[in-house]
């Protein structure tokens, strides 16, 4: 789930980085909406299925060799981008930019009571 992905280590290996045969079994959520294909009005190609983890790379390469080869290069590049981390100086600046004063109290009854009577 998303919580796992939102870690400093980035997305786990299970994430769709470089489509391959390990992704032949799609997760339920990715197969539960055939209406997506109806919206596009075009048949779903083997390459699209491969990139969604619904077909193997070998199947995609057999059906559309040129397109599959191109997407192999592109997904290598997107996978590399997916491993990018925040540069250390940027992290320093993010922290330094946080206001020095305490975070405002929450709104709502509790916040109003605290504002009225102090902590």
């Amino acid at each position: 789930m998303m919580d796992d992905r939102l870690t400093p280590e980035g997305a786990p290996e299970s994430a769709l980085r470089r489509p391959d045969s390990t992704l032949r079994t799609p997760d339920a959520a990715d197969t539960a909406a055939p209406e997506a294909y109806e919206f596009t009005g075009r048949p779903v190609t083997e390459v699209q299925q491969w990139l969604d983890g619904e077909a193997s790379e070998a199947e995609a390469r057999r059906a559309e060799p040129r397109e599959a080869a191109m997407w192999a290069k592109l997904t290598d590049e997107t996978a590399r981008r997916g491993r990018m981390t925040t540069p250390a100086p940027v992290l320093d600046r993010l922290m330094a930019a946080i206001p020095a004063q305490p975070a405002p109290e929450p709104d709502g009854v509790l916040g109003k009571v605290k504002k009225l009577f102090g902590k």
Binding site: D3, L6, A36, F39, Q48, T78, M84, T86, A88, M95
Partner: protein, 197 residues
């Protein structure tokens, strides 16, 4: 901790360590709201990488990505008491909206950032020419996608999220997101196939 990050590691004194991420977030938020400003650093450490990747993927600019993250974390800090539900999803929406606002503004002002001839921000000094060119071409092709297609493609292929996660974060359906990702791929293929297929 990501390689190269030199900030102090999260220590045992940081609230929420060892808990489920959502529970840990809530514990940190409570500490921050109780006056421990520095505890907010744990949230920055935890979420900056995926958010930075998102902002980089959407804007293609390290400087803009940093600005968006900085504004987003400040906004999150100032409105921390208003978090209802999952902090990570709330924070993601702040950053995602910041990226989309930036794209709207830059297109409205006709700044042709996608056409400049700068090296790809993803380039490294020792990479070969073919890879450099692929990176630049992919940057340019991504810049031609509209914001919602670009967002869907980046979340799927750069951030490695499932359609279910994407639907959860963006408040839309899996089907709609599949459609966006498929259209994004079709557009990218049309832009790049002459050279790469």
């Amino acid at each position: 901790m990501a390689p190269g990050v030199t900030l102090a590691p999260v220590t045992t004194t940081v609230p929420g360590q060892g808990l489920d991420p959502a529970d840990a977030d809530q514990q940190i938020i409570s500490s921050v709201l109780a006056g421990d400003r520095d505890a907010f650093g744990a949230l920055i450490h935890r979420y900056s990488d995926p958010l930075y990747r998102h902002a980089m993927g959407m804007t293609g600019s390290p400087d803009v990505a940093e600005d968006i993250l900085q504004q987003s974390f400040i906004k999150a800090y100032n409105h921390l008491g208003e978090v209802r539900g999952r902090f990570d999803a709330w924070l993601f929406r702040i950053v995602a909206n910041g990226c989309k606002d930036w794209l709207k503004n830059i297109r409205r002002t006709h700044v042709s950032y996608e056409e400049d001839d700068q090296p790809s921000p993803y380039a490294t000094p020792d990479e070969d020419l073919d890879r450099t060119e692929l990176r630049r071409d992919l940057d340019r092709a991504l810049a031609q996608l509209n914001a919602s297609l670009r967002e869907a493609f980046v979340m799927k292929h750069v951030e490695g999220r499932s359609y279910e996660e994407m639907a959860d974060l963006l408040g839309t359906t899996v089907g709609a997101l599949k459609m966006r990702v498929h259209r994004a791929r079709e557009s990218l293929q049309a832009l790049l196939e002459e050279k790469y297929a």
